[in-house]
């Protein structure tokens, strides 16, 4: 554990009183519910300081999504060679169509299927049920997309409420079409956030996918899988090439630019490397228990963390890998130094507030620090306690941690902390930009990327600089 980081002007007391002020506007009940989700960090303790994974308080303008979003948008959607059917009304699939930036290889509609497939439920489907329609559309999908390796059926709210049995349809049609049809009961009303959608999807992979394929080539000592990287803006491509340059064979990527077959054969690898713990720890644990595959949690943001990560990874392998890792680090370090030398002078001492999902509220802290910046607040949309445990040591002491923050709370914190950059999502972006505050979308890399790996850091550094130092901010204050 690194030494305790302090931020000038931020004490446990100052943070708590900021929290208290933010809570003042709430009605009693709401205040009581929200209070445990907001707290100053105790870095030395290194444990979660907030409650998490609870129902969102109604009416507070949460940034959270739903189980369907976690299943379609995060876990299943990026698998490029499957048709993913948004089963139910038209909207859910339409909103999640192309809006997450999980890039894919292949040809659209031929060998990748990053389109919107939906059963487009109508009134009659609600009344009479959608199972027959589902069976038919599966047949149509197979005919029109013969190269698809499988079909996932992602239930939207109505499906679970009207008592359809998609599992039976999937089983029947799988045989009929000789194609994996995977039912995923990820109705949006389930659970408290997209997190349950990740879990359900992991379980579905466990039940329907894993072990259904085997790699054609013989296993090797350096076979690994990259888990929990969704290839936002090309992240997977950056990390995969980095890992391969270290001598490792990345046999499967979960699920960024993912292939169903390789995911299905992942039980054959030697090590699972997980980046986004939140969304995929479940499957790592399954493979560990069932197939004895160890897993390691790494951080590919910023040179400091990447170096640590690569060395930790090398520890799991022999000297050859260790040497190659050192060589790779040695090759990249001067380039990283050049980047830091270029941007750090312009970013030194700038304050950042984070509010994102998955791994970023903790994993990116080091990358900002590489640029000389200080993260003064962080929080997650849909984290669990183990996420906050992991966050505590990364964040400076006494800085504010917020779980499932409402937009109201974020605004209050921003007014008090006056960060130089807010890094959060699309729903927050324009709120803070209207305040004249530099902002980066940290779910979608704001249409840039990749941010993972050494390659990614150069993009990240440039983007943070262009956000923080854009001359447009100087125009905000009118002379009249």
């Amino acid at each position: 554990m690194s030494q305790v980081k302090k931020v000038e002007g931020i004490t446990r007391e100052s943070t708590q009183s900021m929290i208290d002020r933010a809570l003042e506007a709430y009605p009693e009940k709401g205040k009581k519910k929200r209070a445990p989700h907001l707290a100053p960090n105790d870095q030395a303790l290194g444990k979660a300081c907030v409650k998490s994974n609870r129902k969102t308080v109604p009416g507070v303008m949460s940034a959270r999504g739903c189980a369907y979003a976690g299943a379609k948008g995060v876990v299943w959607g990026p698998i490029r060679d499957m048709v993913h059917v948004s089963h139910g009304p038209v909207g859910c699939g339409w909103y999640s169509w192309g809006t997450r930036r999980n890039l894919v290889s292949g040809r659209n509609g031929v060998s990748n299927f990053s389109m919107q497939f939906t059963s487009d439920f109508q009134e009659k489907d609600i009344v009479y049920g959608g199972d027959k329609k589902l069976a038919q559309l599966l047949t149509e999908a197979k005919e029109l997309f013969p190269l698809a390796k499988g079909i996932s059926v992602l239930s939207e709210c109505p499906v679970g409420l009207i008592g359809d049995d998609i599992n039976a349809v999937a089983k029947k049609m799988s045989k009929e079409l000789d194609l994996p049809v995977v039912p995923c009961n990820c109705e949006g009303f389930r659970g408290v956030s997209q997190s349950l959608g990740h879990h359900i999807s992991n379980d579905t992979i466990r039940d329907y996918i894993i072990e259904t394929r085997e790699f054609a080539e013989p296993a090797g000592p350096y076979d690994i899988a990259l888990i929990g990287d969704y290839n936002i803006g090309g992240d997977v491509w950056s990390v995969k090439s980095l890992l391969e340059s270290c001598g490792l064979n990345v046999k499967a990527t979960w699920t960024g630019d993912g292939e169903m077959e390789r995911i299905a054969a992942t039980h054959q690898v030697k090590l699972n490397v997980i980046h986004c713990y939140r969304s995929m720890n479940y499957m790592c644990k399954v493979m560990e228990e069932k197939h004895g595959i160890p897993w390691i949690e790494l951080n590919f943001f910023g040179p400091t963390k990447i170096k640590q990560s690569l060395r930790a990874l090398a520890e799991r392998f022999d000297d050859e890998i260790k040497e190659r890792v050192e060589a790779v680090i040695a090759e990249w370090e001067p380039k990283m130094k050049a980047i830091v030398d270029e941007y750090r002078p312009r970013l030194e001492g700038k304050k950042v507030m984070l509010y994102v999902g998955g791994l970023r509220p903790r994993h990116t802290v080091g990358a900002y620090e590489d640029l000389g910046m200080t993260v003064v607040g962080s929080g997650y949309e849909f984290a669990h306690s183990d996420d906050y445990d992991r966050t505590s040591p990364e964040m400076p002491d006494a800085t504010v941690i917020y779980d499932d923050a409402s937009e109201y709370e974020l605004e209050q914190f921003v007014h008090e902390l006056k960060p130089d950059l807010v890094a959060s999502g699309i729903k927050e972006k324009y709120v803070f930009q209207k305040m004249g505050l530099p902002f980066r979308q940290m779910h979608s890399w704001d249409y840039s990327g990749p941010y993972h790996g050494y390659e990614g850091f150069s993009v990240f550094a440039r983007d943070i600089d262009l956000a923080v130092n854009s001359p447009t901010w100087k125009l905000v204050k009118s002379p009249f």
Partner: protein, 489 residues
């Protein structure tokens, strides 16, 4: 070894380049097109969203109004982020975060708690409630819930809380917009009709329209006429608000008092016949004054009709400034007609927009060749066909009703056009067909400021000419042989 689905274990084989090439060629064939059009159950790449999205847009069009999604929180996040991306603006809205227990006990508790918190935090002048799937399926009684909320003192007596049932398994964002506007007007005008009173105003209903420039254009035109107006669900300031360092939760919208008094208007005119169908039917029954419905004023003829109607309704001549604008639009069109004449377009989108695009293209001597609506009606089909039939340039055009953008792709690759007009979602089909996509509808996720450029009125016609023609000229310069690369075009 087998798995849950009873399929045998196979080796990883991937997709071979040969297979990929074969299928890539096949999906461009006439045979594939037929298979594709034979689809009955599967929808691929629809060009419409669900009702609540439209309802939220409508709600944002009123002063101090907080859109409130009764249903799952994920729905609300989806609507909001869609609006964020299109407008590159905030879209503040809340949900009452219904979960499993809502399915069992109903959503009243969520609604009440949500209202209490939202009112405390966001201090709206009105809360506009609309539903996503879950409450629609379990049958929540919103009338009762809201009544109970008032009884419990959660909602102040004078705070309007209109609500709309906006089931996602019915219609599209357009119907949801209609339902929400209707609910808001019904709520605000309740008991406000005064016999003999006339505000002297025009109530203008733009219908679902995510182009803030259009709203500003309507206002500019009405101001040029000197006609007092209430623009119903005016999102122009909500979704085109200044960046001056201050975040405003409610930067614009139709004044609630004006909306309430709209029932005593001198006239009510809808410019989105399809997107305000129910609202307008109700207005015809309930509102004082004259009621008129016109197509969205895209192109010269439809703008003429709009201005003539204004002139007639208010007994005012068309202002000189607008006459001059008309002349300038016609000038731009005559000067540029040769660049669009005979060009074939595929167009898709919402009904009211489609009618406008088709009309404008025909005015330029271009051919709306594939006209596609992914959520339409027989009435729309007939109206589009009649437009096409009325012009020699429309003869070759064909209307495709309730077809999606994967159908469009088949049309584009088997029966090519020069360009496509539609929203961002058509970009894959347009790329596959190697033709430009003019992003004119909703949503537009991949270009900036498109929502700021009006398409309606004479200025809109000039803007359309500019965008379409200059892109074709760009293409010519970019693709011609060097010997045809010239100074003048």
């Amino acid at each position: 070894m087998s798995n849950e689905l009873g399929l045998t274990v196979k080796p990883v084989c991937g997709i071979s380049p040969e297979d990929e090439a074969r299928v890539a060629a096949w999906i461009d064939t006439e045979e594939y097109r037929q298979k594709n059009f034979a689809r009955q159950a599967l929808t691929i790449n629809p060009a419409h969203a669900c009702q609540p999205l439209g309802a939220e847009l409508a709600a944002h069009g009123f002063e101090g109004t907080l859109p409130f999604v009764h249903g799952s929180q994920g729905c609300a996040s989806y609507y909001r982020s869609t609006l964020n991306r299109h407008f590159r603006e905030p879209a503040p809205a809340v949900s009452d975060s219904m979960t499993e227990d809502g399915a069992v006990f109903g959503g009243q508790n969520n609604l009440h708690e949500g209202l209490e918190n939202a009112l405390a935090l966001y201090k709206p002048k009105m809360v506009a409630v609309f539903t996503s799937c879950m409450p629609e399926i379990i049958g929540d009684d919103l009338t009762a819930f809201i009544k109970n909320a008032r009884a419990k003192g959660i909602v102040p007596k004078d705070l309007p809380v209109p609500f709309a049932n906006t089931p996602s398994f019915n219609g599209s964002h357009v119907q949801g917009y209609d339902a929400m506007v209707l609910a808001i007007l019904q709520t605000l005008t309740a008991g406000r009709k005064v016999e003999g009173r006339c505000t002297g105003r025009l109530n203008l209903l733009p219908g679902f329209d995510a182009n803030t420039g259009n709203y500003r254009e309507y206002k500019r035109i009405l101001e040029a006429f000197g006609i007092p107006y209430t623009l119903v669900a005016d999102i122009s300031d909500t979704f085109d608000s200044p960046n001056d360092g201050t975040y405003r939760l409610y930067p614009g919208g139709t004044k609630l008092e004006d909306a309430a008094d709209s029932v005593n208007g001198k006239a009510t005119l809808t410019l989105g016949a399809y997107a305000t169908a129910k609202t307008f039917a109700w207005i015809k029954e309930e509102y004082s004054g004259v009621h008129a419905s016109l197509p969205m004023p895209i192109g010269v003829a439809k703008t003429d009709a709009f201005l003539l109607k204004l002139s007639q309704l208010f007994g005012k001549p068309v202002p000189e400034s607008l006459k001059a604008e008309r002349g300038r639009a016609v000038d731009a069109m005559t000067d540029a007609q040769q660049y669009l004449h005979g060009k074939k377009f595929a167009v898709y989108g919402d009904a009211d927009l489609l009618l406008g695009y088709v009309s404008f293209l025909l005015e330029m001597g271009a051919t709306p060749y594939h006209v596609l609506c992914s959520k339409g009606s027989k009435k729309l089909e007939k109206e589009l066909q009649a437009l096409l039939d009325a012009s020699p340039y429309g003869k070759a055009g064909k209307v495709y009703m309730n077809r999606d953008l994967w159908h469009l792709r088949s049309l584009l690759v088997t029966d090519p056009v020069d360009a496509v007009i539609g929203d961002t979602h058509g970009k894959f089909a347009a790329r596959d067909a190697k033709v430009p996509l003019f992003r004119l509808g909703f949503p537009i996720f991949d270009r900036v400021n498109k929502h700021r450029v009006p398409l309606v009125g004479y200025q809109g016609a000039i803007n359309l000419v500019t965008e379409l023609v200059n892109k074709f000229l760009d293409l010519k310069d970019e693709t011609c042989e060097e010997r045809f690369f010239e100074m003048m075009r």
